[in-house]
């Protein structure tokens, strides 16, 4: 999971890639549709999509002549699992604080 997260963070450090991810959150899109609003070239958008794919953040499926990109639920589940871990850590830490205070009058 850590390797995935590290790679995902690195992938998301670029504003153009973050923007692609936000747009994919609305649903799967083709590479062409994703490239449309940008001033940058379609090959540049393809490169960004490849970085996102290698980080496990997006998946791609080919239908006919089009490549459709989607957000990858697996990567998001990693982030979710991580946040749950932070929650668990605080729950346990506060229990420990309570024990300490209530047993040390």
């Amino acid at each position: 999971m850590e390797t995935n997260l590290d790679q995902a963070f690195a992938a998301l450090s670029d504003p153009a890639r973050r923007d692609l991810v936000y747009r994919l959150a609305a649903g799967p899109q083709t590479a062409g549709a994703l490239a449309e609003p940008y001033d940058i070239s379609r090959p540049a958008v393809s490169r960004h999509l490849r970085v996102l794919r290698e980080a496990g953040l997006v998946t791609v499926e080919t239908h006919g002549r089009e490549r459709w990109y989607s957000l990858s639920p697996a990567a998001l589940n990693d982030a979710q699992a991580w946040l749950e871990e932070v929650e668990g850590m605080w729950g346990a830490a506060l229990q420990s604080l309570k024990r300490f205070v209530e047993t040390n009058p």
């Binding site: 850590e2 997260l5 590290d6 995902a8 963070f9 998301l12 450090s13 973050r18 923007d19 991810v21 936000y22 959150a25 609305a26 649903g27 957000l71 639920p73 998001l76 982030a79 979710q80 946040l83 871990e85 932070v86 929650e87 668990g88 850590m89 605080w90 729950g91 346990a92 830490a93 506060l94 229990q95 420990s96 604080l97 309570k98 024990r99 300490f100 205070v101 209530e102 040390n104």
Partner: protein, 157 residues
């Protein structure tokens, strides 16, 4: 934006609970268990965890080889009511914020920890529908990186 919040009621005055939280964290902060409580690198054991009292004070760990790791700095020092500090896991690209409030009623102090800042301000809103819940998490996820770019090196506050 995703925020982690946990609270607990402790039978003691807020003065005592605040003092325990800051002054004696080394005695109650868990060392091992289900979760990761230390940022000790591989091969190192955690020895101490310390708050330096007052605004700007460091929150840091000391490992068994004597090396230190600063996790964050105190950004709000208001004993015995409120404590805020930054929190950075060395494996994250950006820092987050921890806010702790101490509210006493009838001899019982409620300690509430709010861990936030997983996302930066300015994360664009995403349309409802597809993946809505997950998008929130992803925004948080992406936000760590954005936080980093807003705060080049070092603590804020």
């Amino acid at each position: 934006m995703k925020t982690v919040q946990e609270a607990i009621a402790i039978r003691a005055s807020k003065q005592k609970v605040f003092e325990a939280y800051v002054g004696h964290i080394n005695r109650w902060w868990p060392r091992q268990g289900t979760y990761r409580y230390s940022f000790a690198p591989a091969g190192r054991e955690p020895r101490h965890i310390v708050f330096e009292r007052g605004l700007g004070g460091r929150f840091y760990e000391v490992f068994d080889d004597g090396s230190e790791l600063v996790i964050g700095h105190i950004t709000c020092w208001d004993p015995p009511n409120r404590l805020e500090y930054t929190w950075r896991d060395p494996s994250w690209p950006g820092q987050t914020d921890v806010s702790v409030s101490f509210i006493e009623e009838n001899g019982v102090t409620t300690v509430t920890v709010t861990h936030s800042g997983f996302g930066a301000a300015g994360i664009p809103a995403v349309g409802a529908g597809y993946h809505t819940g997950l998008v929130e998490i992803l925004a948080a996820f992406a936000g760590w990186v954005a936080d980093e770019s807003l705060l080049p090196g070092g603590p804020h506050g």
